[in-house]
C-alpha cells in the first residue's frame, strides 16, 4: 500500500514538514464529506485534492515565497511551524479520538487465487497508481509540467528564459498538497486516523523519499517498496514494535553513503 502512496510523495521537492499533517487534513475532510454529506471517499477525494491544492498554493504564496532566498534552515523551521499549526488545529477542531470513514466497500473482499484481497485497499491502490501515472504524464508531457521541472532543476535559468518561477512554484506546491490530500482521503476508509498521525506520516515519507532519492519518481516507488518490505521483514525477525528501527537504520546508512538516495542523481 505504501507504494502507491509514496509514488505521490516522491514528486514533492520542497522540504515540507507539514506533509503528513496535510494528509491528515485530507483524511478529516473525507470524513466530514462522508458523515455530513454522505459523499463516499472514493468520490470525495477529488474535493479533498482541490481544497488541499488551494491550501498548498496559499502556504507557498503567503509564507514560503517570502523566504526563498533565506538559508535552508529557515525553510525547515517555517514548515515546522506550519506543521504545528495544522496538526493542532485539527486536534482543536476534531478532538483526539481516532476516526474512521465508512466507505461503501468496507468488508468486501475478492479472491485472487489463494489470496483474499481487501477490495477497499485494492481500489485505493489502483486509484493511487492511476493518479501517479497521470502525474508522471503531466510532469513529463505537458508544458506546465516541463516548466515545473525546469524551475526545479535551475530556478535562475528558468527565470532568465522568462518563466514566472514564483507562479510555477505555487502550482507545484499546490499539486503536491493536492496529492497528499487525495492520498489521505483514499486511505481513510481502512486506516483509522487521529490528528497526531501527521508527524509520523511526515517522517515515514521523508524516509522513503531520501532512501529512494529526492525528486526521483522511480526512486520513490522502489524506496517505498524497499521500506515496506524491510519493515515487514523486521517485524517478522525482530519484534513488530521494532520494525521501524530497520527503516531508520536504513535511512542513516543511505544518508551517510549515498545522500542523493538510491535512484537520485549524485550530488556534486
Amino acid at each position: 500500500m505504501a507504494v502507491g502512496l509514496t509514488l505521490i510523495f516522491g514528486v514533492m521537492r520542497v522540504v515540507n514538514f507539514a506533509h503528513g499533517d496535510m494528509m491528515v487534513w485530507g483524511m478529516y475532510l473525507a470524513w466530514v464529506l462522508s458523515t455530513r454529506f454522505g459523499l463516499d471517499p472514493y468520490f470525495g477525494f477529488v474535493i479533498c485534492a482541490g481544497v488541499l491544492f488551494l491550501v498548498g498554493v496559499a502556504v507557498q504564496r503567503g509564507l514560503v515565497d517570502r523566504i526563498l532566498d533565506a538559508p535552508h534552515e529557515m525553510q525547515i523551521l517555517l514548515m515546522l511551524g506550519v506543521a504545528l499549526v495544522l496538526e493542532n488545529s485539527a486536534l482543536m477542531v476534531f478532538g483526539p479520538e481516532p476516526r474512521r470513514v465508512r466507505g461503501v466497500l468496507r468488508l468486501s473482499t475478492i479472491d485472487v487465487g489463494p489470496f483474499i484481497v481487501d477490495l477497499a485497499r485494492l481500489v485505493t491502490f489502483v486509484v493511487a497508481v492511476v493518479l501517479s501515472v497521470l502525474l508522471w504524464a503531466f510532469l513529463f508531457k505537458s508544458d506546465l509540467g516541463r516548466t515545473i521541472r525546469a524551475a526545479a532543476d535551475n530556478g535562475y535559468g528558468a527565470l532568465v528564459i522568462g518563466t514566472n518561477v514564483r507562479r510555477v512554484y505555487a502550482v507545484a506546491f499546490g499539486i503536491g498538497a493536492a496529492c497528499v490530500g487525495a492520498a489521505g482521503a483514499l486511505v481513510a476508509p481502512f486506516l483509522p486516523f487521529s490528528p497526531s498521525a501527521g508527524l509520523p506520516a511526515s517522517v515515514t515519507s521523508f524516509n522513503i523519499v531520501i532512501i529512494g532519492g529526492m525528486g526521483s519518481l522511480p526512486g520513490a516507488f522502489f524506496g517505498g517498496l524497499l521500506v515496506s518490505v524491510a519493515e515487514s521483514l523486521g517485524a517478522v525477525f525482530l519484534r513488530p514494535s521494532l520494525k521501524e528501527v530497520v527503516s531508520f537504520s536504513l535511512l542513516i546508512v543511505i544518508l551517510l553513503f549515498r545522500p542523493a538516495g538510491l535512484f537520485g542523481k549524485r550530488l556534486s
Binding site: 523566504i67 535552508h72 523551521l77 515546522l80 496538526e87 519484534r239 514494535s241 521501524e244 544518508l255 551517510l256
Partner: protein
C-alpha cells in the same frame, strides 16, 4: 556605558532578584519559573551546536532521554546517587553526540540532511527504549519517591527552582566562555561560511564535533533533572520529536547564536505555553498552545529571523545608548549576527 556593561548590570540585577522570588510566589509561579529555567538551560545547550555553529539538530531529545534514563536507572537499580548519575548520563549523551556528530560531519551532511540524521537517531533511541523491558519498555520507567535530597528528590518544589536556575546559569556560563574564546569564533565562522573557514585552515570537523559533544553533555545532564522532576519517563515523550521541537524553538524565537537568546526565548515561550495551555484547556480545546507555538515560529521566521534578543538589544540600544549600539571598531561576529545575518544584519 557600553553594551556589555549594561548586560552585565542587567544580569547581576536578575541574579539578585531571581533567588528571592520563590518566597514571594505561589507554587504555580514557582513551577512556571522552574520550567522557564529548565527549558532555557536546554535551549542554551542546543545553542552551542544549533545556534553558534549553525548545525540544526532536531534530535536533542535523544540526549535528554539518554541522560534521564541513565540517571534514573542507576539510582533505582544500582543505588548510585543521581548527583553522580547526572555526570554518567551526561557522558553517555556526549558519547551518543560524538557518534552522531562523527557520522554527520565526517560524511559532510549539511542542512536538511543533518536535520534528518539527528531525527533518525532520536527516533531510533525512542524505539529501542520502548522495546527494552528492563527499563520499562513502552510503559515507561517510574521513580519511587523518597524525598531524599541524596536521591535528587525534594519535598519542597523550591529546591527544583534553584537547581533549574543553577543549571541555566551553568550553561550560560559555559556558552559565555566559549563565545569569548577562539573556539566560539570558529563556530560562528563555520555557521557563516564553512568552506571559507576551512580554506583558512580551521579543522571544522573537530570544531563541530567538539561543539556537538559539549552540547550533548549538557543536555544529558538536563535529563537527570527531567527524570527527577517528573518521576516518570515515557519513551514517547522523553525521546519524542515534540520535546526536540520544544528545545529548538526557544533559542530560535529568542535569538539563536546569541548568549541571552535562549533565555529570552524561554521567558517568552514557557509562560506563553503555560497560559495558553490553561486557557485552551478551559475551553476544552487541547492542542491550542501548540497552534500558538506554530504561529509564533512562522512569524519569527518571516519577520524576525534573528530572534527577539538582537531585536530587543537594537531597540534598547537605540533608546538608552543614543544609537551607539556598536562602535564601528567592534566587528566581533558573535553578537547580533543571527542565523540569517546575511539577510538583514543589524546596522
Amino acid at each position: 556605558m557600553t553594551l556589555p556593561r549594561v548586560l552585565l548590570a542587567a544580569a547581576l540585577a536578575v541574579l539578585l532578584v531571581l533567588p528571592a522570588l520563590p518566597s514571594l510566589f505561589g507554587s504555580y509561579a514557582v513551577t512556571v519559573f522552574t520550567l522557564i529555567f529548565f527549558y532555557g538551560f536546554l535551549g542554551q545547550a542546543w545553542n552551542i551546536i544549533g545556534g553558534y555553529a549553525g548545525q540544526l539538530s532536531a534530535g536533542h531529545a535523544a540526549f535528554v532521554g539518554v541522560g534521564a534514563y541513565a540517571a534514573a536507572v542507576l539510582s533505582q537499580d544500582a543505588g548510585l546517587t543521581p548527583w553522580i548519575g547526572m555526570l554518567v548520563g551526561g557522558l553517555l549523551s556526549a558519547a551518543l553526540g560524538a557518534v552522531i556528530g562523527y557520522l554527520g560531519f565526517r560524511f559532510g551532511l549539511r542542512g536538511f540532511y543533518f536535520v534528518l540524521l539527528t531525527v533518525a537517531f532520536a527516533e531510533l533511541c525512542r524505539l529501542v527504549a520502548s522495546n527494552v523491558d528492563a527499563i520499562g519498555g513502552a510503559l515507561g520507567y517510574y521513580i519511587t519517591f523518597t524525598g531524599n535530597p541524596r536521591h535528587f528528590q525534594f519535598q519542597d518544589s523550591r529546591a527544583y527552582y534553584y537547581i533549574a536556575l543553577g543549571f541555566m546559569l551553568l550553561a550560560t556560563g559555559v556558552v559565555a566562555l566559549i563565545e569569548r574564546r577562539r573556539f566560539g569564533m570558529y563556530l560562528t565562522a563555520i555557521r557563516e561560511d564553512e568552506s571559507a573557514c576551512e580554506a583558512l585552515g580551521v579543522d571544522t570537523f573537530r570544531v563541530k564535533l567538539l561543539a556537538m559533544v559539549v552540547s550533548s553533555f549538557l543536555t544529558g545532564m538536563g535529563g537527570t533533572f527531567y527524570a527527577f522532576y517528573l518521576f516518570s519517563l515515557q519513551p514517547s515523550t522523553v525521546f519524542g520529536i515534540p520535546l526536540s521541537v520544544e528545545i529548538v524553538i526557544r533559542p530560535i524565537v529568542g535569538g539563536a547564536g546569541t548568549l541571552l537568546g535562549p533565555i529570552v526565548g524561554s521567558f517568552i515561550l514557557s509562560p506563553l505555553a503555560e497560559l495558553s495551555r490553561a486557557y485552551f484547556a478551559k475551553g476544552g480545546w487541547i492542542g491550542g498552545h501548540l497552534v500558538v507555538y506554530g504561529l509564533l515560529l512562522i512569524l519569527v521566521v518571516l519577520f524576525l529571523p534573528q530572534g527577539a534578543y538582537p531585536w530587543l538589544v537594537k531597540l534598547g540600544g537605540g533608546r538608552f545608548l543614543g544609537g551607539g549600539l556598536r562602535p564601528p571598531s567592534d566587528t566581533s561576529p558573535q553578537d547580533g549576527a543571527g542565523k540569517a545575518g546575511a539577510r538583514s544584519g543589524p546596522s
